[in-house]
């Protein structure tokens, strides 16, 4: 069966660490950086478990700041 592999690219400078993408992610792929911050002082989102991403783009839809770009590819 074909599987979907996704990749989430976060625009670190725009991210405000609101956590909405983390809540909306169905596969627990995303999380906020526990220590690192961007130059505005926000704990930005990153792919904590990149292998779990299915590229559903739910994170992108709910992101209020448009910092998320999602790619998806079918893997046989």
């Amino acid at each position: 069966m074909a599987k979907l592999k996704g990749y989430v690219e976060v625009n670190i400078g725009r991210c405000k660490g609101c956590n909405l993408c983390v809540v909306e992610c169905p596969t627990d792929t995303l999380d906020l950086q526990p220590r690192e911050v961007n130059d505005r002082g926000y704990h930005y989102a990153y792919m904590k478990n990149p292998d779990d991403c299915i590229g559903c783009a739910n994170c992108g839809f709910v992101c209020p700041d448009g910092c998320i770009t999602v790619y998806r590819k079918k893997v046989l």
């Binding site: 996704g6 690219e9 609101c18 809540v23 783009a57 992101c63 209020p64 770009t69 790619y71 998806r72």
Partner: protein, 253 residues
């Protein structure tokens, strides 16, 4: 599998809309305004109206909307966006004119303008962001504030006996003959965002087709004003706002 195999333009499923520029948005983290801005940018691009759209910005947090979307904007005095939109649409009937207003703007100081523009059936789209308080000025009580809701000017909760109950603008507007679309949506989940996108697209199409006034109410959060995290604000909205402001179409002709 290598990341570089996935990250290439042919696999792109979601990206920041092309009409939204690189300016850093001043909205608080998790604010619903950003999502609605994105949806508007996507719909305008999809309908290929970027050269024909004129947005009317309100007074409120979205007063700076012109900084974030690369379309033509005009700034209205507080509450007067539907009046200004009427003028723009009548003078330039081939343009798509929409107003973007909060509840303090549309439901308080601009009640008369909104109701009369809708009653005249002006061919404009009204995007109404309802978060139940005056977000920009520090979370004061608005006409749409829920009963017993604590705000900075109702510290003991809104008293229905002295200040009335939450004003349901959409239900009032849906009764008017000039209104062709009155719908209530939200943007707290991906599914809800997609629904909002469909309704805003329909509203913009109605404006171009001259069918009358379209009102899309987006039940939103103001996590800073409500003094909650964005996630808690979304849950609070589902629990408390939705029973008073139920999601769905009130009118769609």
């Amino acid at each position: 599998m290598n990341v570089n195999d996935i990250v290439n333009p042919e696999n792109l499923v979601y990206a920041k809309p092309a009409l939204m520029n690189e300016n850093h948005m001043h909205y608080c983290p998790g604010c619903s305004h950003g999502v609605v801005h994105k949806v508007i940018a996507e719909v305008i691009k999809e309908l290929d109206l970027q050269e024909k759209t004129i947005g009317i910005a309100p007074v409120g947090c979205a007063v700076f909307a012109y900084k974030y979307l690369n379309i033509d904007w005009q700034e209205a005095a507080h509450g007067r966006a539907p009046a200004l939109a009427t003028a723009v649409k009548r003078l330039l009937p081939d343009r798509m004119v929409f107003t973007y207003q909060g509840d303090g703007d549309l439901a308080a100081i601009g009640t008369a303008e909104t109701i009369h523009a809708a009653n005249r059936g002006e061919n404009i789209a009204i995007i109404f962001i309802n978060n139940g308080i005056y977000g920009m000025t520090g979370g004061q009580m608005a006409p749409t504030t829920l009963s017993n809701m604590v705000t900075s000017t109702s510290p003991d909760g809104r008293n229905v006996k002295t200040t009335g109950g939450p004003l349901k603008m959409l239900n009032m507007l849906a009764l008017l003959d000039g209104v062709c679309l009155a719908t209530r949506v939200s943007v707290h989940t991906a599914t809800a965002v997609k629904k909002t996108r469909r309704m805003i697209k329909l509203a913009f199409e109605n404006s171009m087709a001259g069918k009358g006034t379209s009102i899309v109410e987006v039940v939103s959060t103001c996590n800073a004003g409500w003094k909650m995290t964005p996630e808690a604000a979304n849950n609070w909205m589902v629990e408390n706002m939705f029973p008073v402001f139920p999601i769905g179409d009130l009118k769609n002709i």
